[in-house]
């Protein structure tokens, strides 16, 4: 996690290049959608765009909390398993005859609890974030599998969340509008409240932030609870969207979520995860999946592209960051 403090040998980039460096992800999104459309015009048909927005919305909800955990210089690799556990909790309660409200609230409570556990261990006990969340994630995965005794749970009725998912506002799915508003609010919190300043100050220098009077321990606890809650919310939505509880929601959310947050952090605020960057990256990944499917790419090619995107993104950000005279050694 620490960086060696000798100065970089790479030359500083020109200002025009810097602007590209700041917005490259948005450019990449436009270029990618454009290229896919050239090859397969179905790409920008209303139905396909709605599908892209739907899948992007779900990932966006799942990683909003993770985004700030990463912005504070920590990491949470348990979010996918938290979503799986919340998913199975809600599904088993629904299958047992409970209503959607108690089932959803119970699932959110489970997510919040795991988040609080992560937060106490990382924020208060100051253990390594990676090791802690690998371990809590493993426990969640086992618990999720144990709820369904190793298999999935089928749900008869997708309920009110299923109805909300199928609703549209004109051609746009309602959930995408909701996520856009959510991210707008999150952006406002991040840019205009002391909350956002505290998060980035914690990432820069936790000790100094603490000395300056920022309750970093409590802040980190809150961030992990948020991460758990948003992951659990995505898990509950997945119950309705899949009409079942799946103990292994799919490893694709794991790499997608981390790629979105970390690559998104390479845009606008270089080297600092932020909500606009995360949202752009989520859209880019969803466009890649959709365009790749239209072109008939197999799954693994997309995994390779995502991995390459992640490494290129971080290399670009470190290079740009270094030219400003600071190395953002977040990891």
């Amino acid at each position: 996690m620490s960086m060696i403090t000798s100065s970089g040998r790479l030359p500083a980039p020109a200002p025009a290049l810097k602007l590209v460096g700041r917005w490259w992800l948005l450019l990449l999104l436009i270029v990618a959608v454009g290229l896919f459309t050239l090859e397969r015009p179905q790409m920008i048909e209303a139905g396909n765009l709605a599908t892209i927005l739907r899948s992007a919305s779900l990932t966006a909800i799942m990683v909003l909390g993770l985004n700030w955990v990463a912005a504070a210089g920590k990491i949470d690799v348990s979010f996918m398993q938290v979503a799986a556990l919340a998913n199975m909790t809600a599904a088993s309660l629904l299958a047992g005859g409970a209503g959607w409200l108690p089932a959803g609230l119970a699932a959110l409570a489970v997510g919040g609890l795991v988040g609080a556990l992560n937060g106490v261990l990382v924020g208060t006990a100051r253990l390594s974030p990676l090791i802690t969340t690998i371990a809590t994630g493993g426990i969640c995965a086992s618990a999720a599998a144990a709820i369904g005794r190793g298999t999935s749970i089928r749900i008869e009725d997708a309920g009110p969340i299923g109805e909300l998912l199928s609703m549209t506002l004109g051609p746009v799915p309602l959930i995408a509008v909701g996520v856009a508003l959510l991210y707008l609010a999150a952006w406002w919190c991040q840019e205009h409240l002391t909350f956002g300043r505290y998060v980035y100050a914690t990432a820069q220098n936790e000790e100094a932030a603490l000395e300056a009077g920022i309750p970093t321990g409590r802040l980190i606890l809150i961030l992990y609870v948020l991460s758990g809650l948003f992951a659990a919310a995505a898990g509950v939505i997945l119950v309705a969207s899949l009409s079942s509880g799946q103990p292994m929601i799919g490893a694709s959310y794991f790499i997608d979520g981390l790629t979105a947050v970390l690559v998104g952090g390479m845009m606008i605020r270089l080297g600092q995860p932020n909500v606009i960057g995360t949202l752009t990256a989520v859209l880019l990944l969803a466009a890649l999946v959709s365009g790749g499917a239209l072109l008939g790419w197999p799954d693994y090619q997309r995994e390779i592209i995502k991995g390459a995107l992640l490494i290129c993104g971080v290399a670009l950000a470190v290079w740009m960051g270094r030219s400003r005279g600071q190395a953002n050694g977040r990891g």
Partner: protein, 334 residues
Amino acid sequence: MTSFRILSPALLRCLGVVAMIAAIIAVFTALEPRYASYGNLSAVTRHMAANGLAALGLTFVVVVRRFDLSFPGIASLAAVTIGFLIASGYGLWFAIAAGLAIGIPVGLLNGFAIGYLRLPDIVVTIGSGSIAAGLAFLYTGGQSIFQNFITSGLLDLNDTRFFRINVSAYFLLAAYCLAGLVLHRSRFGVALYATGENPVAAHFSGIRVRACVMAAFGLSAATSVLAVLLLIAESGAANTNHGATLLMPAYAGVYLGAALLGGASIPATFAGTLVITILLDGFSLLGLPYYYSDGMVSGILLFGVVVFDPRVRRQLRRLAASVLPIAPNSEFRS
């Protein structure tokens, strides 16, 4: 340091670990007499070999204070490469060499990006692990490979025994002895610890810090290839998700060991892996469903890290001091 003691703290910790292992075995034997049988104990040594090898390489990365999340992907790629070459009729040793030749460069590339280009370790290794795992699908699109495995001699790695003990156990011991010599009895090992402790001071002491980081990632990749080789020898087929099973036990082994013995080292990783293997084996013998095993390993890891973390221990000591003002300090000393 006021109290007089005959045993050094390190020796005391070792004795504690031995007592802990003995206690675990005693409890399991009491619950299930088959636990102490020859068949089960030889299964323990076999299971320990693969996890122990993956943890061994990870130890080097942890010593230079970095993280490697790419070794499961590298292991999957190597597993399918080895399987594909054996299925195509190449010899066993050629296939193993090819597996190493494809895995180690990925590890060195990680090390180059992290050591020389100074990119963040977690991000780079998640990315390269994802690429390696994706490349593993190129051979068969994700299907298992098992052709020619019996005739190639690959399965002998799992089945051959000397003096009634699996050959993989000797292999593991040899690897740990070699790694112990390298890490604890060589200039290179000291350089790795210095790099981890303080890279700037190490740099000014003439240590090639970046090369050390690169070497650690190369070693991690190499041992993960050997670990997955034992896994495919045990299961008799190579597939693309073999590597993923290595992640949890390797991290748990390294960090539990470091917690038990007070720092990452080769003996610590050995102790950590041994504790985890005998616990997992015991629980599976008691009939616990397979899906509890990851949670079990995670729980042990979390417990070890929490209880043995110096900060947590200091707080526990303070708590004990406030409850029992005359409690002897030495009992809680690390």
